[in-house]
Symmetry: C2
Subunit: 795 residues, 2 copies
């Protein structure tokens, strides 16, 4: 992508100059617009050619059966998959009876521009029809961050030669989709997912309501148009079956223009009636008409200005990372801004990959970024989790456990994982949710959230851990037979990450329950119960291999056979597509960080020496077949002093989609990895660790970055951190005074900026990675490197 | 069944007096006849009513897809399932235009008799038609143990009142089958499995050839008849579609009879042409005609006389066990006598349960019995395994391993298991095959087999183990991430059973390779390779828990949480139908013997004290949700001195089908459990352990058995052992002198019987089983006890 000559490196935009059919599907993901409620892929206005047409509504899914050759008790028999809803972004154009299609005629120029400050995708095309008529088409589209249900497109045709023009602006349901490719990481496309309930048109407006067959959801889409053309410009509308159309017919002299502002509104419901959904989309259109195109554009920019004021990162010395980290932050806010108690899927609403499911990525990779940059969205996502508590409690009961067992992958809260060793067994997701709650509480001190949302979430998950673990005869609290983050291991005893996160979960549950003891009582929490949580947390088993002087990821891990990396050809990555799980699980090979992630999130449980030794040890066995790895390796590499290695990992994490490093950007963006760019910069090079109301920084830059400036929100204040190789300057930009830490020194920050020197660091030998799996320095890399998938069939 | 008043306890027969529609399907399994090549369920001659019609040919299967919600590399995408082939046993009868059907008219008497010495199923029915005409029907059927392709039925109608009689003797393909019940242990019925290729009739003969759709096998069936009736008796034949029919029409005066001898031949092939299969079944019919009914009956008895002379067991004091153990031995020889390089399925050819697959049951439960009673059949079954070596080598390669990886469940040698943690990961099956080879070699000294069959099997499996295990940094040989026999545990490190069996396999591979070094060279076995096998065997890890003084079934097992048996209601057994594998795998609960099986088969690796402590420990956590457990618990209980407990386990093992203890005898018999009755008596109370050309006995009887006499074949000789509570007498019945052991004393046995006293035994407290899972003393038990399934979806 960026390495493709059509793409330039711009600090605030992604710009494609020329049309690039070979990366069409990828560009549709990169140019996707979303507000967390609606997502539209960057398909061309005229609909074709396309890689994969896509319009998604957060929470709209269809059920699909999950078959088993040999089923077991508790295996879910159906799962959810995101569906492509009514496409409202299609605007077809006929030029003197010739359809405007970039594959025919002559394309004089074609430019697309994702503007990350404006929140719009602009396109400009200069085209000569096969009959020799030249036109200029300019379109700008946005998915409104302020009007949750609204997509708006400004579409303008300028005649260079005199031409007759017909514009067909459409709503199209049940578009035919490319077949699935069999890759377990892609989606299972559902064709003809929508059953027509209503289809109507009047003047410049049209509306459709459909119902999903099995999940029984109503989906409404409506459009209205403001048409501005020369005299004699006529329009009409029709709605037939799955297509509704507003047609504009005009003749343009050379230099004349016809302009269309298309407003599209979406609404859906699992409970409301068809008339209610009808009215909802009509009302949303009315609101958008009231704001008008200019109003939508300016409120879009105002929203983003506010976001960037607390989220922006400036990276000097590495323009590719500069662009990529803003690209990541832009898509993070797009995926979450208006989620409003809906999940953040692994690919946001940019594509159907992983069936549109949300995983632990949301809490562990995406929410930390939002917590410190746009905490409202983090809150919303956690409110969604809380809303699924009853389902999680039922699941726990089904599994013979207490409390709440959240799903490994889901859209609506029900478990959609069809392979339990990497689904149900990956209980760490429950502690990941608790951790996101704890982080959000620390960063905001939000008292309503603590009592109403944090308490039941922490109690439900603490109860789960207490019933999942048990004391052995020596009084140690063990959690056996679970799967940690590393998906090349499964069903092991005492996974360090899981146990430390459970420890944190149990302690936080006890603490919040005792702070809100009345509310806790209504959840039937007794002080005996919280005492048993504290005791379990205090005695949790952490396997350590004395012979090697490193922690074992899980019990027995360091006794297992090393993977034979020398004998593994590069085309055998990702390994899970070339070796059986049986073999991966029993050997020392990590798909992704696991023990290293424990050291990042639960750093207080490891000494500096342990971190150094563990990091070196696990670097040698981690292949990064998951997109969840590089960013966290960057953080720990930075902490233990491998700054240039951290920089390489940062590059891999943030360029994953702009360079299509995993060859599946076409299915949607890798949000967790994009979020990881922020994490690598802020918690890696910035050294941010926050707890108990204090943000600690231990900044240190790699040689390739000359200065790093970022902004954060914490406890209602907004601060700015400017880092160079020798010093750091901390500024309070907004809000009340804060106490912060700098390399261990506590500093009270008020209005005056505080400057501190960065202590020097001794050089350490760079640790070794498995043969052929070293992160390539990104600024020298040309084409996509043959890296494999983010996860296996487990998601 | 036996507890049903219709069934009597007869030492040499299973007799049903009266018709028992409530246990019809079960009786069809119990009364099934087979020779290991053909199997016919005990359906009524007239075809209806039936529980489940069934005619099976060993090796005839159809493919079926194995679906996965989330597939992994190496998961087989299709499996095999046994199909119901052309039914040749149907003989319909019309009495004065009324169909003979036991559900109508008046059934004056109905008797069925499985004669285990004659090898026949006899039936006698006295019936009055709705119109008041009385007849007497006598039928005798056999599946010939000497004519491999032949089923014969003698069918006689005697008129008590004068009647017009029409007999329709049929071949019927594609019978409609009852729907599957969803129990993972049953089969997936394939309807319309057969496509007609040829159907023809002439005189008293008819023939059909069909082809299976996906597996592409040709199945031929032919029938011919000898008709003996009064003057005026006429017959005609026809063949239309999937039905061929010979019709006999006659009038009988009171006391007159019409008699039919129906000969049916079967043949099938995956390679030969339709004409060749046609000719094959016609030729087999000619051979059977030559022998005639009387010839078939007498050769059947002669065959069985020979079998019983080396296999019979007499049990005094327990008539139910007496009957049941002969029932088991009868079905064992029926399942294997004429297998001739086909597998012994878990249910023989008595029903479609487990899709007709063979498992490790064959080598570990059935072949030991055959090895000492009818070694030719053991040899045949092992030759079948050897014939699948190329498939097993491909599978090993697919899994990234060396040597041969045999399938967990299969019909034709290809892996048909759709749940890898209890399929592919259960590598012990390879050592089980090696162990059966070693036992067969020890018992026969068969030199051709050793060089031609044992060598490649032992080399292939030894290579597998060498590549599956690895030395840790202390030089111990570990086998990680595998599943042992206990199916309530999976993917664990250093399973004791697996490691000890692998040790034996590696040593035997090295030994046989050095004895046949030239042949071994042609398999590219070097002395470096065999040395590495010996070294691995010598350093194999055997986990032991010092704190508890017991072996851990696998590493970590004894640290796991105990299962909460008190909180488990009896209707929650079998546990795998009520709890997720996740939970079962991580707790101390055994579906079946695992460590105890290691102590039975590899007794030399444990001290007497260890056996006692281990047995007590694992008794407390073993729930016997598998039919593979009770017999081996009986053996170890007897060895450590719990003789009455052993007797209870013996009762459970041998009465499994006669009492339908697992509620699925309708799907076919549990051959491994039936074989286990022999094992419990001979290796349990007889104390037989054989190795290095010597049979060691340590006989001791429980209080409920006053004397036990059994016969065995070993090294070409035949011996008899008579045991009472105080002494044992050993007799050489045939062949050359043998050295045997009696309670540790070595004795050279020649013509004179040898008598030895049985040393007294101190009393020990009876170990405890999980609450509610104690074996009930079988002589006091009335109805079926609520025991669960033999295995989970894994088979």
């Amino acid at each position: 992508m960026i390495s493709h000559p059509a793409f330039s490196t711009d600090p605030w935009a992604i710009r494609e100059v020329g049309f690039t059919p070979d990366v069409l599907a990828q560009s549709e993901s990169v140019f996707a617009l979303s507000n967390g409620h609606i997502g539209i892929r960057g398909n061309l206005d005229e609909g074709e050619p396309h890689g994969l047409p896509g319009t998604y509504l957060n929470g709209v899914y269809e059920n699909r059966p999950l078959p088993y050759a040999e089923a077991g008790y508790g295996d879910p028999d159906s799962g959810q998959t995101v569906i492509n809803v009514t496409n409202g972004k299609i605007i077809r154009l006929l030029v003197d009876d010739e359809p405007f299609d970039v594959r025919y005629g002559t394309l004089l120029s074609h430019t697309r521009d994702l503007d990350m400050r404006a929140g719009t995708l602009r396109r400009e095309v200069r085209w000569v029809s096969p009959a020799g008529k030249e036109i200029l088409v300019r379109s700008t589209r946005l998915v409104s961050l302020t009007h949750r249900s609204i997509v708006a497109i400004r579409y303008e045709v300028e005649a260079i030669d005199p031409v007759a023009v017909v514009i067909q602006s459409e709503l199209v349901a049940n578009e035919s989709l490319p077949k699935g490719n069999g890759d377990p990481r892609s989606s299972s496309p559902v064709e003809w997912a929508l059953t027509l309930e209503e289809s109507t048109s009047r003047h410049s407006m049209a509306l459709m309501v459909h119902r999903t067959l099995s999940s029984g959801l109503l989906v409404g889409a409506a459009m209205d148009h403001e048409i501005d053309g020369p005299d004699g410009c006529r329009s009409e509308s029709e709605a037939v079956g799955d297509v509704a159309r507003v047609t504009v017919v005009t003749h343009l002299e050379a230099g004349q223009k016809v302009r269309l502002v298309k407003l599209i509104s979406y609404g859906w419901s699992g409970v409301r009636s068809r008339p209610a959904v009808h009215d909802q989309v009509v009302a949303a259109l009315a609101g958008a008409r009231q704001a008008g195109w200019d109003g939508l554009v300016s409120s879009q920019r105002a929203f983003l200005d506010g976001y960037w004021s607390g989220a922006d990162i400036e990276v000097e010395g590495d323009p590719q990372v500069q662009q990529a980290v803003r690209f990541g932050l832009f898509h993070i806010i797009q995926a979450s801004a208006r989620g409003e108690q809906r999940p953040v899927p692994a690919k946001g609403l940019t594509g159907p990959g992983y069936d549109g499911h949300t995983f632990w990525d949301s809490e562990t990779y995406v929410l930390p970024v939002l917590t410190y940059t746009y905490p409202l969205a983090a809150r919303d996502a956690l409110l969604w989790r809380a809303s699924t508590l009853p389902i999680a409690e039922q699941r726990a009961q089904k599994l013979g456990l207490r409390g709440a067992a959240f799903p490994w992958r889901t859209i609506d809260g029900k478990e959609s994982s069809g392979y339990w060793p990497a689904g149900t067994a990956a209980f760490h997701i429950n502690a990941d949710i608790a951790d996101a709650v704890i982080r959000y509480l620390d960063a905001t001190g939000d008292p309503t959230f603590e009592a109403e949302t944090a308490l039941p979430l922490l109690v439900g998950t603490a109860r789960l851990w207490r019933s999942l673990g048990q004391h052995d005869i020596d009084g140690n609290f063990r959690i056996d037979g679970v799967t940690g983050p590393d998906e090349y291991s499964a069903i092991a005893d005492n996974n360090v990450y899981t146990n430390l996160m459970a420890q944190r979960n149990l302690r936080a549950g006890a603490e919040v329950a005792s702070q809100h003891h009345r509310a806790a009582e209504s959840l039937r929490v007794s002080s005996e119960e919280t005492a048993s949580w504290r005791d379990a947390a205090d005695t949790v088993v952490i396997p350590y291999d004395d012979r090697l002087g490193v922690h074992a990821q899980s019990e027995g891990f360091t006794d297992h056979a090393p993977w034979d990396f020398e004998a593994t050809p590069s085309e055998h990555y990702p390994l899970m597509l070339h070796y059986p799980y049986f073999d991966l699980y029993r050997k020392q090979v990590c798909k992704q960080v696991d023990l290293v992630l424990a050291m990042v999130i639960c750093g207080e449980s490891f000494t500096a020496d342990e971190k150094t030794r563990n990091f070196d040890y696990y670097e040698a066995v981690t292949v990064r077949d998951s997109s969840l790895s590089a960013s966290m390796q960057a953080v720990m590499a930075a902490e233990v002093g491998h700054l240039d290695l951290a920089h390489d990992y940062l590059g891999e994490a943030c360029l994953i989609d702009l360079r299509d490093l995993e060859h599946n950007t076409s299915d949607g963006l890798h949000l967790a990895s994009l979020a990881g760019a922020w994490t690598a910069l802020v918690t890696g090079f910035g050294g941010l660790r926050a707890a108990n109301g204090i943000m600690h920084f231990s900044p240190r830059l790699p040689s390739g970055i000359t200065s790093l400036r970022f902004k954060l929100r914490y406890r209602g204040s907004r601060i700015g951190v400017d880092i160079t190789s020798t010093k750091a300057v901390y500024r309070l930009l907004e809000g009340s005074a804060l106490r912060i830490g700098h390399h261990g020194e506590l500093i009270d920050m008020a209005e005056t900026p505080v400057e501190r020197a960065i202590p020097p660091l001794g050089r350490r030998p760079r640790p070794r990675q498995p043969a052929g799996r070293e992160p390539a320095p990104h600024h020298t890399r040309i084409g996509p490197k043959p890296v494999g998938g983010r996860r296996g069939p487990t998601g």
